[in-house]
Amino acid sequence: MSQQRIWIRGGRILDPAAERDEPGDVLIEGGVIVAVGTKLDASDAEVIDAKGAWIAPGFVDLHTHLREPGQEYKEDIASGGRSAVAGGFAAVACMANTHPVNDDPAMTDYIIDRAKQDSPARVYPIAAATRGLEGTEMTEMSALVDAGAVAFSDDGKTIMDGGVMRRILEYSRTVGKPVITHGEDRHLVAGGVVNEGPVSTKLGLPGNPAVAEVVLITRDLMLAELTGAHLHVAHVSTKGAVAAIRQARERGVHVTAEVTPHHLTLTDEALLGYDTNAKVAPPLRSAADVRACREGLVDGTIDAIATDHAPHAVHEKDLEFTEAPPGLIGFETAFPVVLDLVRSGELSPLELMRRLSTNPAKILDRPGGSLAIGAAANVAILDPDRSWTYDPAKGYSKSRNSPWAGHTLTGRAIATIVGGWLVYDVERGVLYP
């Protein structure tokens, strides 16, 4: 079966890889982009009308939880993949905290296999950095990379032993893949569930201090400097961490970083009504932290936007605030939420697309993030002006844990093409598989 011939007509082409921002068409055939320009004619192709819309490389999400295997009641690779393409994501990297943990090449194989069958989005497994995410014994990085792992991380189970982290960073140089750190010093977090400050004091909930993140990220930046390894910092949330990363970059440390849509737009005040759907790790922070994260994203200290899509079932989020698991679902709301940075004038549309596609693809060393002729046809078609009311029950994720439920959002992915296939269309829904 050969891929579709698709003619995307009359949109605004935003190709960060080519610094291109101009009106035009894109023609796709045989799974690749075959023409980009203004005077295309392909009347026999399937036509997608992109009038008023942006044509950008499909988004690449560096940080997601697809929950398969083991917690399919929250999400699986099929539902997660469908939700991803409905948000304009052509590829997603999934964290290793499945049951069993992805710390073994057979598990990496399994995930890739399931994704090929079930997911309209490309799925890139991130393998555990230590066996069982226990923070002690390192995993077989070389075999995992051969199986298809794109990076290594224990994510939420921060590696607290600095000696172990050092060895992992050193060894990662043999495979040339990034080690992703979830920077929270567990002892300083000490059970905190809300950013420590006026809000935690008012709510009477245990505070999680910003310094818990700054301390651990600073440690890991110093270890990256010592070892020369590629450290990727997950979901930066504090002013102090942004500053530490900026300084490390100036010293030439090989560091990249991501920030989530929620840490760019919501403060801890979103928790004043004890909404467990806004409980995330690291927690939502102060307005000054949000400002610093936005500045970091604009000035290049932070490379990419990643959702940290973390589905949890309704009955799990219906618990006491301290008991409810942290995390929110983010694929379908990411684009409208981060468009705030364009509306505010902080980022141009082209620069926003770079942080959603080109930069994360580069960090993972995977194709994507480009509309060059001959490139794999992963394309997001986005209407920046479309207003809609978000109802998670009508979305594709199995879970509903979103702080934006019921909100009217502006901006929506209207079509997504992966590998030359139109896999999502806002009117018809997910089309494949």
Binding site: G204, L205, E323
Partner: protein
């Protein structure tokens, strides 16, 4: 604004508080009769939903409900569906189907009464949630101080001890400030919550400075598990530094009163000689607790009339 529920003092304004205190004064009078029962809440069902063990507060609410002739049911956590891994909101939805007139909730985690109120149509009264609020405790403290001093306006009160983990401290900070008092807090720095000044109080690490010239000293109960380890080095060191005794009390006004939400760890928060210093005040807190809870039950559930299940007090929001 007092609305359908009483979740915290933070939501009340001064007029609401005055109204509750006035009502409580009348309720105190009922407690002094031989027959301590009025028919006000006859036919109403009130559930005490205590997920955290409590003897005093639960009994106080139970007595309050019974003096108003309500049917009071105690729904203890051990006897509840919690052990069956049912979520708190499922428990609340089950209660909703029982057509209750008020639910009194205590839970070790902050926010649970609010989460329950979000799914219940009956009024929810917070009887203490984690380190968030304990509004009826603050109301009874206001009543006690007002009866002792004749006013709240212009007084200075020092709250001493583990402010970080204390719902009593937070509710009293709101309550005394709304009624025109100056509030200070004092305790070891690790037990003073971050950004406490945003609640409009001044924090002290020196007890002596904190109680200098105050009208009221309120000592908080310190939980045994926090007296050693990473919070505090030892009981002895805590009581030497932050325990209230006659010597330290000399810095307060001559007619200063000493309060404690109980139960008192004798010799820890208050010295032995002080627990006997005007013991009437601390016991009066208990007496006023029943009166204040009667007032709150009456104001929140007593005004619901047949066919009019959602009568609000004042201009509070409907849910």
């Amino acid at each position: 604004m007092i609305g359908r529920d009483l979740l915290g003092i933070e939501d009340l304004d001064r007029a609401d508080i005055e109204r509750i205190l006035e009502t409580a004064e009348h309720m105190r009078e009922i407690g002094r009769r031989v027959i301590k029962k009025v028919p006000t809440l006859r036919g109403r069902t009130i559930v005490n939903l205590f997920f955290e063990s409590s003897t005093r507060t639960k009994s106080s609410f139970e007595i309050a409900g019974k003096r108003l002739s309500a049917d009071v049911i105690n729904f203890a956590a051990a006897a509840s569906s919690l052990k069956k891994a049912e979520s708190i909101l499922d428990t609340a939805r089950n209660l909703e189907a029982m057509d209750l007139d008020a639910v009194v909730v205590r839970h070790a985690v902050a926010g649970v009464p609010k989460q329950i109120a979000d799914v219940l149509s009956a009024p929810v009264i917070n009887a203490g949630d984690g380190a968030h609020e304990h509004p009826t405790q603050a109301l009874l403290d206001l009543l006690t101080v007002r009866r002792e001093k004749g006013r709240i306006d212009g007084l200075t009160i020092a709250i001493v001890g583990d402010i970080l983990h204390s719902r009593v401290a937070r509710s009293n900070i709101y309550a005394f400030r709304k009624m025109g008092a100056e509030v200070r807090v004092a305790g070891p720095p690790q037990m003073i919550p971050a950004a406490i000044e945003t609640l409009g109080v001044k924090a002290f690490t020196s007890l002596r400075e904190a109680i200098d010239g105050v009208d009221v000293v309120m000592a908080l109960r310190i939980q045994n598990e926090r007296l050693t380890g990473t919070y505090l080095p030892s009981v002895r060191e805590y009581s030497a530094t932050y325990g209230i005794d006659r010597e330290k009390l000399k810095f307060a006004k001559d007619d200063a009163i000493v309060m404690h939400p109980g139960p008192v760890n004798r010799g820890v928060e208050l010295s032995h000689d002080l627990t006997d210093h005007r013991p009437g005040v601390i016991l009066d807190q208990v007496r006023n607790g029943v009166a204040v809870r009667m007032a709150v039950l009456y104001l929140l559930s007593g005004r619901r009339q047949e066919g009019d299940p959602r009568v609000d007090l004042g201009s509070g929001e409907e849910k």
